[in-house]
Symmetry: C2
Subunit: 216 residues, 2 copies
DNA sequence: AGTTGTGAATCTGTTCACAGCC
DNA sequence: GGCTGTGAACAGATTCACAACT
């Protein structure tokens, strides 16, 4: 389990997260075994891709039968690192930020909000879904004290630059960036995942016109 | 301009949307010309990729100088289809839905909300950011009458199945899906873009551990 | 009989290096 | 001189076909 994950490309991990959705669906239907063909159909890809992806991490299947769902879920969650708790801080408690604080999925993925931050004095001190909102001035100290590993950025893009002065980038390992800003983390060992609505809209605008080769 | 876009892979279009962000930034700095190396650095990729991507749609650059920013923005917006208005309906006016209705980016991309839908009677009839909330029962008729091309789904995943009975899939060309559900549009000529928070979290969980080969 | 796991072949995307042009 | 545009080489991902196994 040491370097089993090294050399795995992001594209495979993205698919793993999709497979996990399928497995949850299958489990809810009280199935015990699922075939690579079934997973593939649900995801809209070829079954050989599904099989090859899993073999990157070991041989989880039973030849002639398929994959034991409960076991496969366990394995995939292990691979994705979903069994260890991760401390998260949210920055920017607007509409989107509020929606995120209330989102159940964070709990399922073992993400724990330890605090939210904003610069609006009306909001500071209040709680959303039990999570306290702090003054953004205290962010740096907070990250240090509470071993925050992940930051979620849901502020206006224009605010990003000044916020980054307050982040101790040594402790933070991942950023989920909902702004359109390109984050100044070059060269740092931080994994950034950009979720840019504007870009998604532009993409859908183009792709509506033409049916493209691939699906994400 | 007819079949110039056919045969272009999604990955290139995704990068185009990133380039557009860079071009806006450069424009704000009152620059007139930008080099492929500069765009590449901002996006964290090789300059040859940038150049090759643009040549898929024509030769926009000036040899020995670079790309004229204003012109390139115009071209890229044209390619992405951002100059034509698209009618959008939002389904599910929760926290996320509300955030989306207020989001400025839709305006920039020429997306026009013509209506929002919910099943909560407390919400029906009210307005968010000027957009009226209708009873979800009237969705099908509404799509027909108002030539809705794009649907944005921000409902609980469990609600997806029943909603899909109310969508006239012949008219709809694109769906922006914020649920974890795998949408039942197989075989239809609809472009679906999934923005699944749960999956993003799982991905960040894995990638934090290991620095992967690629960035999205 | 039926499905996984996998090497080999194919396809797609990236990098390199430089000719062509301003 | 300097940057774009591009063919050729390379790397990576997907598909195919089937051997291995239950």
């Amino acid at each position: 389990m040491e370097n089993i994950t090294s050399g795995v490309s992001e594209i495979i991990v993205i698919r793993l997260t999709t497979y996990l959705r399928c497995l949850y669906i299958a489990k809810r239907k009280r199935k015990n075994i699922i075939k690579s063909v079934e997973i593939a159909k649900l995801c809209g890809i070829k079954s050989s891709v599904v099989r090859k992806d899993f073999t990157q991490f070991g041989a989880f299947g039973i030849k002639g039968k398929g994959y034991e769902i409960e076991n496969l879920i366990k394995k995939v969650r292990e691979i994705l690192g979903l069994n260890t708790m991760k401390n998260v801080a949210l920055i920017g408690v607007g509409n989107l930020g509020t929606a995120l604080l209330k989102y159940q999925g964070f709990f399922d993925a073992n993400f724990k909000f330890v605090g939210a931050f904003d610069l609006n004095y009306q909001k500071i001190g209040k709680r959303v879904n039990g999570i306290k909102i702090y003054d953004i001035k205290n962010l740096k100290k907070f990250i240090d004290k509470n071993s925050v590993e992940i930051i979620i950025l849901s502020v206006p893009s224009a605010a990003v630059r000044s916020i980054f002065k307050n982040i101790d980038l040594k402790k933070v390992k991942g950023i989920l960036n909902f702004t359109s800003a390109i984050l100044p983390c070059e060269g740092k060992k931080i994994y950034i995942r950009n979720i840019d609505l504007s870009r998604e809209l532009e993409l859908i605008s183009f792709c509506m016109k033409k049916c493209l080769k691939k699906e994400a």
